[in-house]
C-alpha cells in the first residue's frame, strides 16, 4: 500500500512578488528541490507578480530537471496578473488559469 510520504513530491510555493531581487534565491530553492526530489511541483497560486529574471529561472529549472531525468511541473491556479503579463509578452497563448493549462501553453517550456 502506498503511503503519502513515499509518493509525496517536493512542492515549491512561490509567494509574493518575484522580481530580479529574488531571482538568485529562487534559483537556489529550485536547485535544492530538483537535486533532492524526482518530482518537483511549483505552485504559483500565491505569487503576485513575476518578472523576466525569475521567469527565466523557472525555464532554466525545467530544462535542468529534464536533463537530469527529473520532473518539474506547475500545480494550482495561476494568478491573473501573471497570466496577463506573460500573455501580453507572448509567453502564453490564451488565458489559462489552471497550472496544467498554463504549463501546456507556456512557450517552449
Amino acid at each position: 500500500m502506498p503511503d503519502t510520504k513515499a509518493i509525496a513530491p517536493t512542492i515549491v510555493n512561490l509567494s509574493g512578488t518575484y522580481m530580479i531581487d529574488r531571482s538568485s534565491a529562487l534559483k537556489a530553492e529550485l536547485w535544492a528541490a530538483i537535486v533532492g526530489s524526482d518530482r518537483v511541483l511549483v505552485s504559483l497560486s500565491l505569487a503576485e507578480d513575476l518578472d523576466l529574471a525569475c521567469l527565466q529561472v523557472l525555464y532554466s529549472a525545467r530544462r535542468f530537471a529534464r536533463a537530469t531525468g527529473k520532473e518539474l511541473r506547475f500545480v494550482g491556479s495561476v494568478p491573473s496578473r501573471i497570466v496577463e503579463r506573460l500573455s501580453s509578452c507572448g509567453f502564453l497563448h490564451g488565458s489559462p488559469q489552471r497550472a496544467e493549462d498554463f504549463e501546456a501553453v507556456l512557450q517552449d517550456f
Binding site: 500500500m1 502506498p2 503511503d3 503519502t4 510520504k5 513515499a6 509518493i7 522580481m19 530580479i20 531571482s23 538568485s24 529562487l26 534559483k27 529550485l30 536547485w31 530538483i34 511541483l41 505552485s43 497560486s45 518578472d51 523576466l52 529574471a53 525569475c54 521567469l55 527565466q56 529561472v57 525555464y59 532554466s60 529549472a61 530544462r63 535542468f64 536533463a67 511541473r73 500545480v75 494550482g76 491556479s77 491573473s80 497570466v83 496577463e84 503579463r85 506573460l86 501580453s88 509578452c89 507572448g90 509567453f91 488565458s95 488559469q97 489552471r98 497550472a99 496544467e100 493549462d101 501546456a104 512557450q107 517552449d108 517550456f109
Partner: protein, 704 residues
Amino acid sequence: MIDKFKAAFREEAYELLGQLEDTLLELEVQPHNSELINAAFRAIHTVKGSSAMFGFETISRFTHEIETVLDQCRNGVLSITKDFIGLTLIARDHLRKLLEYDEPPPQELANAGGGILERYRIFSGKGSIEAGKNISSGKTPEGTFSNEMAAATFRIFFKPDAEIFMDGTRVLNLVEELAGLGQATVFPHTESIPNLDSIDPEKCYCYWDIILTTTKDENAIRDVFIFVENHAEIRVERIVEAPLDEEGRSKRLGEILVDRGIVSAATLKDALSSQKKLGEVLVEKHVASKPQIESALVEQEHLKKVQDRTELGTGSIRVASDKLDALVDLVGELVTLQARLARTSLDLKDASLASISEQFERLIAQLRDNTMSIRMLPIGSTFNKFRRVVRDLSIELGKEAELLTEGAETELDKTVIEKLGDPLVHIIRNSIDHGIERPNERELAGKSRKGSILLSARHSGAYVLIQVSDDGKGLDKEAIQQKALERGIITPGQDISEQELYQLIFAPGFSTAKAVTTVSGRGVGMDVVKREIDSLSGSVTLGTEAGRGTLVTLKIPLTLAIIEGLLVRIADEYFVFPLSSVDGCIEIRKQELESLGDKRILSYREELVPYVELRDFFESDGESPQIQQIVITQSQDNRVGFVVDQVVGDYQTVIKPLGRMFRDIDGISGATILGDGTVALILDVNRLSLVAQKDGLRKMGRGV
C-alpha cells in the same frame, strides 16, 4: 429531421453549458478578466440564438435575461461578484434541466426559472454599479481597431543586453506596453536560457520578434524603448502587406525570411528546389534556426489574420459517440473473424491463405489501434466537473478547499471515462467532508486555512493511475476500528493489520460519520466506489497518514473494448488472462505440484507466491495433465499464481459482456469468442487473487 436538428442543438448546448461552468469557476477567481466575461457572454448568447432557432422559446427567453445582465458586466456597468457567479451557476444548471424537455417545459420548472430571473433583476438593480469604469484589461481586443483603414503592421525586433536588469529595467513592462499599442503577435525567444547549473539569474537571455498592427506611427513604437535604446538592439520596420494568395496567405514563408534578413534570395531559391518543406530545409542546412522559422510562421499567421478575419478551420469534425461505439463493435467482429481466418488457414495448410491471413492480421491491428485511439479522450474533460463539486461542497460545509489537478491531458477510453465520474465524485466528496478540516482547525494544526485536494492522472503501462490526495487530517484509525467492532465486522482482540483496517471503509454501509449529512454519513459511497472500479476491472487502494492526509489510488485499464490477452486451457475450457496482469509463466510437473502440499505457496523469483489451481476453482472434469503451467499474475502489488493445463499463447481479446445470468460469477469479468466460435471466459485476476490470498492465509493459520 426536426428531431435530428433538436438533438444536435441539445448536444451543442450541453457542451456550451459545460464551457460556461468552467468559465464561471475561473471568473470567480479572476472577476476582472474581460476575456472570461466575454467567453461567458458568448456561451449564453449562442445558446440563446440556437434555442430560438429550434423553437425552445423558454430557453431563449431565459437566456435573453441572463445575456442582458452579462452584457452589463461586460460593459463595466455591473461588477462580477461571488453572488453573481453562484446565481449564474444555478441558472446554468436550470438550463440543463430545461434542455431535457421539449416545449413547453413542466410548470414547476418554469416557476423555478422565474425565481432565478427575479434574483437577476435584484442583482442588476442592487448590483454594485460602477458607471464609467471599464473592466477590460486595457488591451485592444483581437480583431478590432479604432481606425482600421489607417492601421499599419510593423515588425519589431527587441533584444535587451544581457546586463539590462542591473539598471532596474523591467523588460516585460516594455513588451506589455508595446503590445498595448494595437493588435500584437509577440514571439519570445527563450532558446538561449541555459540550464539551472549554468544560468546567471541576473542576466537577460530572452529576446523578441513582435508583429504589431496599429494605428499609431513608428515614433510611438520607438517611444516605448526610449530609455533602453542604449541597452538593447531594437529594429522597427513597416511590413508592406500583399494581397492574399490562393491559399489565403499574405506572404510566403520565404519572403518573410528574406525580409527579415535571415536568408538571402539565392539561398531561398536553392532551398525551394528541394521537395521538403522550406522550413525543414533551412534548419537542416543551418541557414535558419527552428525558432526563427517559427517566428516567421507566426508573422505569416498574423498577417493572414489581419487581412482575412475569418477563423481558421479546426481540422476536426464532430461525430456522434454511438457511431464510434458501432465502429468499435465492428472492429471487434473483424478481430474475431480474423482469428477464425487464421485458424482456418492453419487447418487447411494453404500457404497463400496463410499469407492473406497475415496481411489481414496486420491491417486489423492497425485498424484496431486507430479506432481505439479515436475513442481516447483526455481525462481532463472529467476533471472540470469536480471543480464545481469542490466549490459547492466547501461552501456548504463551511470549509475552504481548492482542487489542484495534474495530468488532465492523460487519455483514457471514453467508456472508462464515463464510468469514472461517479466514483471520483464520491472520493472527492469524502475528502472534503472527512479529510479537510475546518479553516480554524487547520490553522491550529499549523496548516493554511485552505485545504488542497490534488487530483492527478498518469499512464502506467496498460493502466491509468488516478490519484486523489488531500492534505487533511487523514483516516481516523480508532474510529474505523470502533465502527468495525460495533458492526461485528471484526471481533474484540482480532489481529488485523492497519492496511486491512483501512480497507474496511469499502465495506457496504460502513461510515464513521457521527451524523448523517447530505454529503456523507449514510455509509454509501466508498463501497459504491469499490464496486464501480471493480466493474472497470480496476483496483482501488488507500494510503493515509495522521495529520497529513489521505491518498486514494485508482488503477484503471486503458480500455474495456479490446485487450491483449493470454489464452489458456483447463480441461476442454478456454480462459483468457489480461496480458497486462501477467508477470510470467512457469512449467511444473504434477508430482512437484503435489509435493508443495495444501499450503499452495510456491517460490518464484525468491518470493513466496500463493497459487490457485483453476481446475479445482472451476470444478473442471477429468485428470490434470502430467505437465502443467502456472501463470504468475501481478495484482494490487501482490503476485498470485494460477495453475492451468496449458498456456496456448497471446490472443487479441474482444471483450463481450456476460449475460445477466452469469454477471455475478466470482472471478470472471467477461467473455470472448475464439476463432473456431467457442467461448473463452476472461478471468478477473483481482477477484481471483483475493480468493487465493484468503485461502492461503486461512491455510497458513491452520498450519496445514
